[in-house]
């Protein structure tokens, strides 16, 4: 058998095995819902060593209502503070994902742009955070219903849109309006702002090595103020997509546990729109249409970045319970790891079968694909399904990267569109297929009963997920396209060809990441056979680019980026 056929055969065997594994262990003493584990239970009679008598119920102690109230009060406070701690610590883990993204995208691009990549990462964090603080958070969560794990009552009660048709939140501008200067609101803000930041870094991977710093900042502001928060509100802020269960009776409405759609697909589709408007990097496609690779300058960075992201994801998914009083967190964490590893193995196997050797950067993409895909279903599916979802994501990302690279001719240096867009979409779909009805006990998005997918008897859930996929794509891609097309008239969104060839480090910032080394980028010396007639260059830019690689002096100063 050929290598490709062996791969297909082995994959099918894995799928069949996974489905078989699911047949074991149902109806046993497991507690996947996490409700029984915390319940008080009388210790068994084996307390021979119980010299302190801790397990024997005290008798004849007078019970006062005051005492009971005090006990209840303290227990309640303890529960809320444990949940606060969980929410903040997992939020810090998600914050650390910034490091992972910075390493990943910088490693997968060329040395002459490394400083530019790092600068975009730090600027994205600072700018987007402030924008989200001013308006984004209010748009997204200004009308979210009270969160029981964080104490219940919440001043975030301003919503525009009636009943099941909420479209935008109205409380919480500057974390002040509507009395939102509140411990619960700010804990929630910390956790949510780092999620928004994740979408904000995703786009860097697809626009790398040619976007101008000014154009990038415009994209970040649009993302943090409008594109991310509004769709996020529809899904997580009590908006109409999450209410599809109550309004038209489709499952529990669109369900996205930790953001395959809200965070990743949104980031991926925005990246797609920006990459299409910017056009490919100079030299990416030859005249005959073939693809030229620009190898990343540090695959070690890419692997470190991927592993840091894996670690950060342990906050991303388990933290999305908003509290450790929900014991489902262990299942969420393990599902996340299973899918990540399945994705990495699948990508490793696919590249080995297809290209003769396993590809390092695609293995990184495969692991991230598994993580992105399990993000929406992680709380609702069994471990076997998590592996299944990861394997599919690992293959999907490989095909998607090849599709965007060679067929669609959309230049995506780090695979951001495929990892986050394509696999985010798969994650949303997977909820509608594999949610197995063990979580939550009841009441997700205000609908009675647990969340169930197609294979567990709820067709409506799959329908709601598909509506969500389509709406999410149209909103994120469409809004990004409109805003960036308009911005293009006022801001130079792409660096000049001289800056692009020289390196965006020097051209945009006058500083280079590696000043102690001579950098030879061979691909730049081979541009004479390049397709410089691509539509993103004006006639003048084309002639300038030709002059630059022919070694002739050009009129404009190389540091002039507009």
């Amino acid at each position: 058998m050929s290598r490709g056929k062996t791969l297909v055969a082995m994959t099918l065997v894995v799928f069949v095995a996974l489905i078989a594994v699911n047949q074991f262990g149902h109806g046993g003493n497991g507690d996947p819902g996490g409700t029984k584990t915390s319940a008080y239970s009388t210790p068994a009679k084996s307390s021979v060593n119980d010299t302190l008598g801790a397990s024997t119920t005290p008798k004849n102690v007078p019970v006062s209502q005051t005492g009971i109230n005090q006990l209840a009060n303290e227990t309640g406070h303890l529960r809320v503070s444990i949940n606060f701690t969980w929410l903040l610590i997992t939020g810090f883990l998600v914050l650390f994902m910034q490091v992972g993204f910075a390493f990943l995208v910088t490693g997968l691009t060329r040395a002459k742009n490394a400083g530019h990549m790092m600068m975009m990462n730090i600027a994205a964090f600072a700018v987007a955070l402030l924008v989200y603080y001013v308006v984004g958070f209010a748009f997204q969560f200004g009308g979210v219903s009270p969160i029981a794990n964080l104490g219940g009552a919440s001043p975030l009660s301003g919503i525009f849109g009636h009943g099941t048709a909420g479209v935008i939140g109205l409380h919480g501008f500057f974390l002040q309006s509507g009395n939102t200067y509140d411990v619960g609101v700010l804990a929630f803000f910390l956790f949510q702002v780092v999620f928004m930041e994740t979408a904000a870094y995703i786009i860097i991977g697809a626009i790398a090595e040619r976007v101008s710093f000014a154009g990038f900042l415009v994209a970040e502001v649009a993302l943090a103020a409008v594109i991310y928060p509004v769709y996020g509100m529809w899904m997580w802020g009590g908006g109409w997509l999450s209410q599809l269960g109550n309004s038209i009776g489709w499952g529990h409405g669109a369900v996205d546990f930790a953001g395959s759609g809200v965070v990743h697909a949104t980031g991926g589709w925005i990246a797609l729109a920006l990459a299409m408007i910017l056009g490919p990097r100079i030299g990416k496609y030859r005249k005959d249409g073939s693809v030229r690779a620009f190898p990343g300058h540090n695959l070690g960075y890419a692997v470190i970045g991927t592993l840091v992201l894996l670690f950060g994801w342990m906050g991303f998914n388990p933290g999305s319970t908003f509290g450790s009083s929900d014991l489902r967190i262990s299942i969420v964490a393990v599902n996340t790891l299973l899918s990540a590893c399945a994705g990495a193995v699948a990508a490793m196997a696919w590249t080995n079968a297809k290209w003769g050797k396993p590809d390092i950067s695609m293995t990184c993409n495969g692991m991230l694909a598994g993580l992105v895909a399990i993000t929406a279903p992680c709380a609702f599916v069994a471990p076997w399904a998590a592996v299944f979802i990861g394997v599919v994501a690992g293959f999907l990302v490989c095909y998607s990267v090849r599709f965007f690279d060679s067929k669609a001719k959309i230049d995506d240096p780090c695979g951001a569109i495929s990892v986050h867009g394509t696999c985010g979409m798969w994650g949303l779909l997977a909820v509608g297929l594999f949610a197995d009805g063990t979580y939550p006990a009841s009441g997700w998005n205000g609908v009675a009963g647990p969340v169930k997918g197609l294979f567990y008897g709820d067709v409506g859930q799959l329908g709601a997920q598909m509506i969500d996929i389509v709406v999410g794509f149209l909103w994120a891609w469409g809004m990004a396209w409109i805003i960036f097309s308009l911005a293009k008239r006022f801001v130079k969104v792409r660096v000049s060809p001289e800056v692009e060839l020289e390196g965006t480090d020097a051209g945009e910032f006058g500083q280079v990441c590696y000043p102690d080394f001579v950098q030879v980028t061979e691909t730049d010396a081979r541009l004479q056979d390049d397709d410089l007639s691509l539509p993103y260059l004006t006639a003048q830019e084309r002639s300038t680019a030709s002059a630059v690689h022919a070694g002739q002096p050009v009129g404009a100063a190389p540091h002039d980026t507009g």
Binding site: V291, A293, F294, W355, D359, V520
Partner: protein, 112 residues
């Protein structure tokens, strides 16, 4: 005096340097360089797209010897640096007008 320049495979450095010391060469300067010969590089696959590596990493050795030693040193480098496969490198030998030891300002053969 003769200047010998040798381009070798990087992983052969230890073998060549040891052989040269055994042959009596006292000074050796190396530089990391990139280049190609008749085969003009090779192609690699990155994320499914082919790219050509035109200039392959090599090491350049600069050695100064007395006139009579040049052929012997060239033989030494060939013996120690040869793998028999494409890309083993090249040696070229040229005349040298003068050599100066900076510390003592010695000239000519004394400075080697």
């Amino acid at each position: 005096m003769r200047a010998i320049v040798a381009i070798i495979k990087p992983h052969k450095l230890d073998d060549v340097a040891e052989a040269l010391r055994d042959a009596g060469v006292s000074g050796l300067t190396i530089t990391e360089v990139r280049g190609h010969g008749r085969q003009r590089g090779h192609t690699e696959v990155y994320r499914g797209a082919e790219y050509s590596v035109e200039f392959i990493p090599k090491l350049r050795l600069d050695i100064i010897v007395d006139d009579g030693d040049a052929e012997k040193i060239a033989d030494t480098i060939v013996a120690a640096g040869q793998t028999g496969k494409i890309g083993d490198g090249k040696i070229w030998i040229g005349p040298l007008d003068n050599v100066v030891r900076i510390r003592t300002n010695e000239r000519g053969s004394d400075a080697i």
